[in-house]
Amino acid sequence: MYRKTLLMATVASALLAASLVQAADLTIGSSTEPSSIDPQFSRTGNNQNIAMQVFDRLLETDTTIGIHPALAVSWKNVDPTTWEVKLRDGVKFHDGSPLTAEDVIFSLTRAKNIPNSPAPFSGNVAAIASMKAVDDLTIEFKTKTPAPDFIEQIGFVYIVSKKVAEKATIEDFNSGKAAIGTGAYKFKSWTPGDNISLTRNDAFWGKKQDFDNVTIKFISNDASRVAALRSGAVDLIDAVPPRDIKTLTGISGLKVFSIPSARLIYLAIDSARDKTPFVTDKDGKPLDKNPLKDKRVRQALSNLINRQLIVDRILEGSGEPAGQLVPAGVAGSDPTVTAPAYAPDAAKKLLADAGYAGGFGITLHTSNDRFPGDADIAQALGQMFARGGLKVNGVVAQPYNVYTKAASAQEYSAFIFSLGNSTPTSATGLRNLLMTVNKEAGTGSFNRTQYSDKVFDDMMRQTMAEFDPEKRIQLLQEATKYVFEDTPIIPLYWQKIHWAGKAKVSYEANMTEDTSATLAKLVK
């Protein structure tokens, strides 16, 4: 009897040992799929998720979008329009050829000229006037105008091999022939609509990865993705819907990884025009004046919103009440600008001061398929405004593809939108969202309400021209404080985002919403 037990124990431990030396594989269930393997084809998140595993950039970001050296080890500002960038020594492409300055120059030139690219990196390289390889690992850049954040601009463009990519078409990338990067994983295959498979790059310059093989399965349906994790078909999933968090944390053998992201959900307010289409008097008749133009009215609306209640009840905790563009941790966030308090009495007083003691009528617009809870939030806002004495004429929810066109065409008065900040500072976000719309200057590209404030514009211009990094952040904070004092938009909350995985996997939840095997580790 004793001998039998001993034998079984030996067999069991041998089996266990065998399973430990077995190759570690990772299967990820991803909500999105790339449109191409060419890393420069599209700058959207779904493409970057794949690109960042196979290719590298001059810089990489940490979980709070702080920048760190990747293919570039150092950079120096020689004079206002000259930069010298040193590349990492000993980096090899997947085909064994070394990374040189020529590859980087080629990549940055190529980024402008990708045929039919729907979201090109051309903005990232727009500042470059000329590039020169000083030696194999040093590049000298001349910029058209002084650009203090130059390295942040070029630092996020993926570097491809000149030899391979020079004559490659998009099909060559998709088939894997030209998918030669310096990244932690090598590209193996892509079956559109189904999966991408990668293998570990053992010659990677960075930290050795835990997984030999990685498969990324595309499961766009939320419920199916969660079911795939529960059935064990995948090890890790992204974009876990808030309503499933409670269930998943309750299942032993599963873990959830969460972080408040830098994606702000806000209520845009049509404050720039003298007349606005969806604001009426109490009887539903058009007003000859736009009440939203009055700062006190905007503040009153903001004070009527109970942000914590929305986060707790509609998002089941998956949010962080917001009072500015980016959350604490992201450079440019000002600690003194907090989420406006829920203060209905103060709001009523503000309304009375502005001459709207009796309230006015308003219609809210929102998308219904863009992010979790978008339609419900609009309903809740409607109720909160109604409780504050406004007459809510309606809450209209539409599919995003219909909604976004009308929102950009200024057809609405108050509408819900989101803005994800993926740059190291809030400067780009503020420039696009709140600076005066000016095509030539490249400002206000997502300023859908045409908000405009000369003082803020000047502050931002000064910020963006500042070379001293600390001074720049300080100026950015001052600009943030100044502009949110005026309530140009009503910030609601930062979305909390979740990944979930099996016990054997750990994942670095990150603000940039990246789903990548390089952020996953094997739990030992």
Binding site: G29, S35, S36, F41, S42, R43, T44, P115, N116, S117, P118, A119, P120, S122, G123, A126, I170, E171, N174, T191, P192, G193, D194, N195, K217, F218, I219, S220, N221, A223, S224, A227, A228, R230, S231, G232, A233, V234, D369, P399, Y400, N401, V402, Y403, T404, K405, S408, L419, G420, N421, S422, T423, T428, G429, N432, K439, G442, S445, F446
Partner: protein, 324 residues
Amino acid sequence: MSVFVIRRLMQSIAVLVVTALIVFLGVYAIGDPIEMLISHDASPAERAQVILSLGLDRPLWQQFFTFCWNALHGDLGRSFVFNKPTITLIFERLPATLELTLTGLVFALALGIPLGLISGLKPNSVTDEAIMTGSILGFSLPGFWQGMMLIMIFSVWLGWLPSTGRGEMGSFLGIHSSLFTLDGLKHLILPAINLSLFKLSLVIRLTRTGVRETMPLDFVKFARAKGISERRIVFVHVLKNILIPLITVIGMELGSMLAFAVVTETIFAWPGIGKLLIDSIMRLDRPVVVAYLLVIVSLFILINFAVDILYSLIDPRVRLGDQS
């Protein structure tokens, strides 16, 4: 016959042109593709560059005529999102959907016709009641919910079958399909059942009604009087008669299964064309939507044509082209 074919061809071309126009205008009316495509921190210069490179700066009529002109030369445009020829994109995914649909259809017919026969031959028996009640469930439970339940039961709780994606591919007689590997078949079972449950119920009901209608007819009585075996009466004479409405409905259903297996494909992450269509509509990838619908309309035309030919083969009374 040839008159029939030529007339059909003319009608088909007219249908295709009208479809292209309607879809083109429809997608244009929905929204602005640029808003869906560009990165969320794009600069105005980037936006302008994209608009120019995708040809969206030109007036709509110009875009439409360019499309028609290219289509006449066999080029249905390139996807905004993938920058691939739309036809490549569609035919890359069509095999997966065909595989799923045909498996589902075979399942529906192989089970539906016998069950319908049993029901029809012994009406109001316990078996009949059971089959009919079952088919009501197949009809009325929404496909989406059915799919989720199949996943919950067979993948999450029992762990028998995989719930997502297409399995390993095998090759047989030069055809690549997941039908030829065990892993592939395992992946196929749940989505195929999900897709076929509704059709199964439909086939059962059609067959049952057909049998009930045909059995009391004179020719059946006559055949019985002649002393022909009951087996032969049911499987040759009755079955042949009920096949006509069945083929009509199945032909239409096959088309719609192929074109709109969206729900099943989305739940089971099946890399088919249904999912491609819904994604393309969401992203306003107009070239794909237009090309896809043109392909589907052509497919419907072909299927209807095949159904008409089949009629004439099964029912000698039908003569194609006689109307003229």
